[in-house]
């Protein structure tokens, strides 16, 4: 009985801490691939880094090495009093659902997925809007009137990329021919650059001269094959223009960094809300990349068209159809 006393005191102290208006203790759990993956994990890390630089609030993070660590990591942060805890990547959904139930007082967030719990903020991106822009640019850059898309695993999320791309390309050139390929149906489809390269070559052999990839590591092979053949690739998630300078037309950016900063800042200001937060062009959650590596590839007319499309989508004049809304894509 006596030995329980300090423990009880500790519990009381823990419970009392938030009431005293203490600083938040933000934490991030990355997905497989790690925080330097040059993609969305790194985006989350950069966001956290910027938040720390701006506010001085220390950030804790964890890079999982296998699926079993998802739940452990989330649980450990929650138990240690971290708040809010952000899980990066849709694969965390099942683990987060469990942990969020066990720690109803802890605010959680998940990126790229919806977890329906009262204490979970689900951050999703309107990738179809960003894909629309790069589709527009791809169709304008194409000389052959044929463009390609290579997806990773065949899941609705990736169909959503393809569908937005298709709509943008059709807007720029109604007669454009679009080749679409998915790499596979298992997780291995995200890490097969050899197959990605072959898919791109097959599309190039059929006449495609701009190819958009939404295939994770497989996509590096797509960009490489396009560059080797003297054609253009289009990157995804992070700014991949610099991977093959002069051969990457642009990249569809998913601003995970902005999303993370936004989440932490609202938590700090006490305005954190749970529920679905959808980030599109209006919220600067998606976009297209223009930098020194691709400035020569984007003509003023293309930039103009893209800027106008951004305005039209933000104002609601153009509504890009979301494949995931009804599992179909307008032709």
């Amino acid at each position: 009985m006596r030995s329980c006393f300090p423990l009880a005191l500790l519990v009381v102290a823990r419970l009392a801490a938030p009431a005293l208006g203490a600083e938040i203790k933000p934490a991030i759990v990355y997905d497989l691939g790690g925080k330097f993956d040059k993609s969305f994990n790194e985006g989350a890390f950069r966001g956290g880094e910027r938040f720390t630089a701006e506010t001085g609030v220390a950030l804790r993070d964890f890079e999982i090495q296998n699926d079993a660590q998802r739940e452990q990591a989330l649980r450990r942060f929650a138990r240690d009093g971290a708040s809010p805890v952000i899980a990066v990547g849709f694969s965390h959904a099942a683990a987060l659902d469990k942990v969020a139930r066990d720690f109803p007082q802890t605010p959680f967030a998940i990126v790229d997925m919806v977890v329906d719990r009262p204490n979970v903020k689900s951050i999703v991106f309107r990738e179809h809007e960003g894909s629309y822009l790069v589709g527009l640019l791809a169709a304008m850059a194409s000389k052959s009137g044929k463009i390609g898309f290579v997806g990773g695993m065949d899941i609705p999320l990736i169909r959503k990329f393809a569908c937005g791309y298709r709509q943008g390309a059709r807007r720029a050139n109604p007669g454009v021919e679009i080749f679409e390929n998915m790499t596979g149906v298992t997780g291995a489809a995200w890490a097969d650059p050899v197959k990605g390269g072959e898919l791109a070559r097959a599309q190039i052999d059929r006449g495609a001269d701009v190819i958009y990839q939404a295939a994770g590591g497989t996509g590096i092979g797509v960009l490489r094959a396009a560059a080797d053949a003297g054609k253009l690739g289009v990157g995804t998630d992070a700014n991949q223009n610099g991977l093959f300078p002069g051969h990457v037309l642009t990249s569809m950016l998913k601003r995970v960094d902005n999303a993370v900063i936004r989440a932490f800042s609202t938590a700090r200001a006490g305005t954190w809300t749970s529920g679905v937060e959808s980030l599109g062009l209006r919220e600067e959650g998606v976009g297209w990349a223009l930098d020194d590596n691709n400035r020569g590839l984007v003509t003023p007319a293309m930039k103009d068209a893209a800027d106008r499309a951004v305005d039209a989508i933000v104002s609601g004049d153009i509504v890009v159809h979301d494949y995931m809304a009804d599992s179909r894509c307008p032709p």
Partner: protein, 300 residues
């Protein structure tokens, strides 16, 4: 147009077959000598990683290739020590090699380059580039290796010993040959070929390493080995067939066929395994592995 399509398809089939041919012949060397190797995948990964990492650091494709072979042969030597010297279980040891290959490459890659286990994209001078008809030296080399393998196996004294070590090691021993030395040599060649297979993936077909980039090719090569009944010529043909199926899948995906409509990708991806099972069950007769495969040899 149709001709171009066929050429493009054949080119892709050759490229996709290449890592399978090396890996399948690697398995053939090891297993014909009586050492079952399910660790092809792990050695390929080690080779792919070492090749890409060293090529990225030195900017020289030759040193990269050497590193790929050295890394894979090191793992093979360890495997040979456990399996041949200590009589360890060959399946368990092979699986261990797969785990080491998958884990160590990603770990060292993350530590060296901090890109989630990836190596940086290789510049042109650090890659094996195609020089004729979209094909590179490694692809052409694969055919050479198949021919050399067949010649050594069936036309040399060493080949006879190697086969004896796999079929009847006691007879080899009685005839004054060393089962131990023969098996070590076979396992070393297996390591060499796995290294080339991995190097083909990371230095020729892709420009860099990615964790788990072999995507099960080591196991498809094992299926091809069984399908080919452990014969070099048949192994080459089977790998070309599997590579062709892969290339076909890439071109067929999403394109409707007459009468059949759009065939799902999964159907093509399952074909190599399906064919192995179905054909072995009924059409080409049973596949008999070398009689002593999987059994550690101990002198009495």
């Amino acid at each position: 147009m149709a001709m171009e399509n066929i050429l493009s398809f054949l080119g892709a089939a050759l490229r996709l077959s290449t890592p399978l041919i090396y890996a399948c012949l690697a398995g053939l060397w090891s297993e014909r000598a009586g050492v079952i190797d399910v660790g092809l995948e792990g050695k390929m990964l080690a080779g792919a990683f070492a090749g890409a990492a060293v090529a990225a650091l030195t900017g020289d494709v030759g040193i990269g290739l050497a590193a790929a072979v050295a890394a894979s042969m090191t793992l093979a030597a360890a495997q040979g020590f456990v399996e041949v010297e200590r009589g360890g279980d060959q399946i368990v040891c092979g699986m261990a090699v797969n785990m080491i290959g998958a884990g160590v490459t990603a770990f060292v890659g993350a530590a060296l380059f901090a890109e989630g286990g990836r190596t940086p994209a290789l510049p042109r001078e650090a890659r094996v580039l195609p020089f004729v008809w979209g094909q590179d030296a490694l692809t052409l080399g694969a055919f050479g290796v198949a021919a050399i393998t067949a010649f050594i196996l069936y036309r040399t004294r060493f080949g006879l010993r190697l086969r004896a070590a796999g079929e009847n090691p006691r007879a080899l021993d009685a005839a004054g040959g060393s089962v131990r030395a023969t098996r070590h040599a076979a396992v070393a060649v297996c390591g060499l070929l796995c290294g080339l297979s991995g190097a083909d993936l990371s230095l020729a077909q892709a420009a860099g390493f990615l964790p788990a980039m072999t995507a099960g090719k080591g196991f498809i090569a094992l299926a091809a080995l069984v399908f080919a009944k452990w014969r070099p010529g048949a192994a080459l043909a089977t790998c070309l067939l599997f590579g062709g199926l892969d290339a076909a899948a890439i071109r067929m995906e999403g394109a409707p066929l007459p009468f059949l409509g759009v065939i799902p990708t999964q159907a093509f991806q399952a074909l190599p395994y399906l064919m192995t099972v179905v054909l072995l069950a009924g059409f080409v007769g049973g596949a008999r592995p070398p009689a002593a495969a999987g059994q550690p040899y101990r002198r009495e």
